[in-house]
């Protein structure tokens, strides 16, 4: 009788433990500045979670992805993070692209001790250079990009360089980084233009950059504004060497205006397109039904972020302990990364809450309307 009762008791309890989900908060910019980027990355995050759940989840527990739009709004994201923690008891959060949103989220994570991994913010303000961090990202920060670009400019012999960037944290932080490092490369930033998001016509700004005598332009801006700059430069008949710091934004821009306006532009590239894993991610995303899949680094970046999160949860030994998950981000050794050169493995090390260094970055150039890796 007792045995029968115990069996009955356990049979009712055990499945409930087995069915208990691991709640993961996912907040990104389904609306706002980076909506086009988020709309391509979110399906990859969902796809990976679905695949893991179909294979049995993490130690038998299914991942429950709770998705919220933050509209590129730093204030809104704090409310969302609070809701993830308090209402849904999330022990880890994955976030989207915008630096200003992620800066707010990082501060929240530091105070609330919930680890956050973001897909693609670039701001240097997110770099935790000593000790363990509560914030991680798959994207490479501005500084290593800046160093790689300055080295590239020096190699190509450009010494008079202009800067065009967004007024948001991504643009201003990157500008500060360029200004600080340019002299050591013998490069002079001769003019700088910060452009508000959603600016309609950049012909005045393009003329300013041209009139400064710059022979090269560094572009750190979102899709529409990058397209606006390319169009404006074309309109005034100015064809300097242009290098963009974000492949994701440049490829999106190329879908907005005739691609020949970008011929000769170069961009930092975090992926090696010859890697089989990269091609697999693009193919899987298309098969999954993701809209507007562009064969660039957005998908691989989201793929690495969600997989690193899953690896950290697995290695934590306790998916209900946010500190254990945070510590586990530093224990990932065997995960094969989509980003970076072939053979790149592992997660994070103390003092470096991102994955790639300047030496890991490649360049791609726009030739005949298509991006080709620069050898």
């Amino acid at each position: 009788m007792l045995t029968a009762l115990s069996l009955l008791l356990f049979s009712s309890v055990t499945p409930s433990f087995a069915a208990e989900t691991i709640n993961v908060g996912f907040t990104t910019d389904f609306s706002g500045l980076d909506a086009s980027m988020a709309m391509q990355e979110a399906p990859v995050v969902e796809m990976v979670v679905k695949k893991i759940n179909a294979a049995g989840g993490i130690n038998g527990r299914q991942i429950n992805l709770i998705t919220q739009d933050n509209g590129s709004d730093p204030a809104k994201v704090i409310g969302i993070a609070k809701m993830f923690k308090e209402k849904y008891k999330c022990k880890v959060i994955i976030a989207g692209p915008t630096s200003s949103v992620c800066i707010a989220l990082k501060n929240w994570a530091d105070q609330n001790h919930v680890p956050v991994i973001a897909i693609d913010p670039q701001s240097d303000k997110l770099w935790v250079k000593s000790g363990k961090s509560w914030f991680f990202r798959s994207e490479t920060p501005a500084s290593p990009r800046v160093e790689a670009i300055l080295a590239r400019l020096k190699k190509l012999g450009h010494t008079k360089v202009a800067f065009e960037g967004t007024t948001l944290a991504w643009g201003t932080d990157t500008l500060a980084s360029f200004k600080a490092r340019a002299p050591s490369f013998g490069i002079n930033i001769v003019s700088e233009v910060l452009v508000e998001p959603k600016s309609k016509d950049l012909s005045i700004q393009a003329k300013k950059l041209k009139d400064s005598g710059a022979k090269a332009v560094i572009c750190v801006d979102y899709d529409a504004e990058t397209a606006g700059l390319a169009r404006a430069m074309s309109a005034i008949g100015w064809k300097p060497y242009v290098i963009h710091t974000s492949m994701a934004n440049l490829t999106a821009s190329m879908g907005l205006i005739p691609t020949e306006m970008f011929n000769g532009w170069e961009v930092i590239q975090q992926i090696d397109p010859t890697k089989p894993l990269i091609k697999q991610i693009w193919a899987d995303a298309k098969a999954y039904g993701a809209k507007n899949v562009v064969e660039d680094e957005k998908g691989p970046r989201a793929y690495d972020a969600i997989n690193l999160l899953v690896e950290a949860v697995k290695l934590s030994g306790n998916p209900d302990d946010s500190t254990a998950i945070r510590d586990a981000f530093y224990k990932i050794k065997t995960y094969e990364r989509a980003l970076g050169p072939k053979g790149g493995k592992g997660g994070y090390t103390e003092g470096k809450n991102h994955l790639l260094d300047s030496k890991d970055l490649l360049f791609a150039a726009v030739k005949a309307g298509k991006l080709t890796t620069v050898k």
Partner: protein, 302 residues
């Protein structure tokens, strides 16, 4: 000093085209205000719907721009008609506070943005420059053909609207409705039809503004709101209820923005816009051009 002057021509062109765009949206607001005394807070989304239809016809059905553009304008008018028919008129008949239909227009706009967003995945809806990518060179100065087209179209629309208002019986009825709804009813004017017509005209103007603007800065489903806000600022700066003042308000805001971008920094254009708004609200809240081209009786009525 020379470089300041050589910069001035492109700055004026950019300021005029941007200002015309804001003014057109301000005019679209005013058309409805004059007929119903209501503000359509879905105005920017009317523009976005125009862009969405134009983009879909070109990108999904392969229609040429010259076919897609008029159809998009028709869609803008239809959006206005539907908004009035399903939300505004039914609420006005219930004699509710004017805030309710205003909130209703906002809801229609938000739903439209959401629906277009689902259709497009909130991705860009790019539309090519109407007259090609090569700039027009006047005296050696390259000018963006889309900007010039916006300026020209705005002049044409305002002229047509002036003609409608002041030279036709329909315009007289529209003006009378805006002047006094009760007296217009007594005079046999079909006030309900005038309200409906004002929404249709407003939708048409907004759709034209949106589609003309899209080649400059590709639209997403949520971008109508930004154009709507700038149009509303144009309306306040220019003068409430005066279509020509709204246009002038838009041009003023556009010029100030362009001058700030040209001579100070493009990082401060938004700040400048709101500073202008604050100054106007403080020194002349009725708008800088409130009485411009308006009959004295209508001015005094406001």
């Amino acid at each position: 000093m020379d470089s300041y002057l050589s910069d001035l021509v492109p700055i004026i062109i950019v300021g005029l085209s941007l200002g015309s765009l804001f003014g057109l949206v301000g005019l679209a607001y005013t058309v409805i205000i004059n007929a119903t005394q209501l503000v359509n807070f879905g105005q920017g989304d009317f523009a976005m719907v125009g862009v969405a239809v134009c983009w879909a016809l070109i990108a999904k059905l392969g229609l040429p721009l010259w076919v897609a553009f008029p159809l998009a304008v028709v869609a803008g008018g239809a959006m206005g008609f539907i908004t009035n028919a399903i939300i505004v008129t039914p609420l006005l008949k219930k004699d509710v506070h004017p805030f309710y239909p205003i909130l209703g227009t906002m809801s229609v706009g938000t739903i439209a943005a959401g629906a277009v967003g689902i259709f497009t995945g909130f991705y860009w809806m790019p539309i090519e420059h109407f007259l090609g990518n090569e700039p027009l060179k006047v005296g050696g100065i390259p000018m963006d053909t889309q900007g010039l087209l916006i300026i020209g179209t705005t002049v044409a629309i305002v002229t047509a609207y002036w003609y409608l208002l002041h030279k036709t019986r329909l315009g007289l009825a529209l003006r009378a409705t805006g002047f006094n709804r009760e007296v217009s009813l007594l005079a046999g004017i079909q006030v309900g039809k005038m309200a409906s017509l004002s929404f249709v005209i407003s939708g048409i103007i907004a759709a034209i503004a949106g589609v003309l603007c899209a080649p400059f800065s590709a639209f997403t489903a949520t971008d109508g709101m930004i154009l709507g806000i700038n149009g509303f600022i144009a309306l306040i700066v220019g003068g409430w209820g005066n279509p020509y003042a709204a246009l002038l308000g838009g041009v003023l805001v556009g010029m100030i923005r362009a001058l700030i971008v040209g001579y100070i920094s493009s990082a401060h254009a938004e700040l400048a816009t709101f500073l202008v708004l604050m100054v106007v609200l403080t020194i002349k809240p009725q708008g800088l051009f409130a009485g411009f081209m308006m009959p004295k009786t209508m001015n005094s009525a406001r």
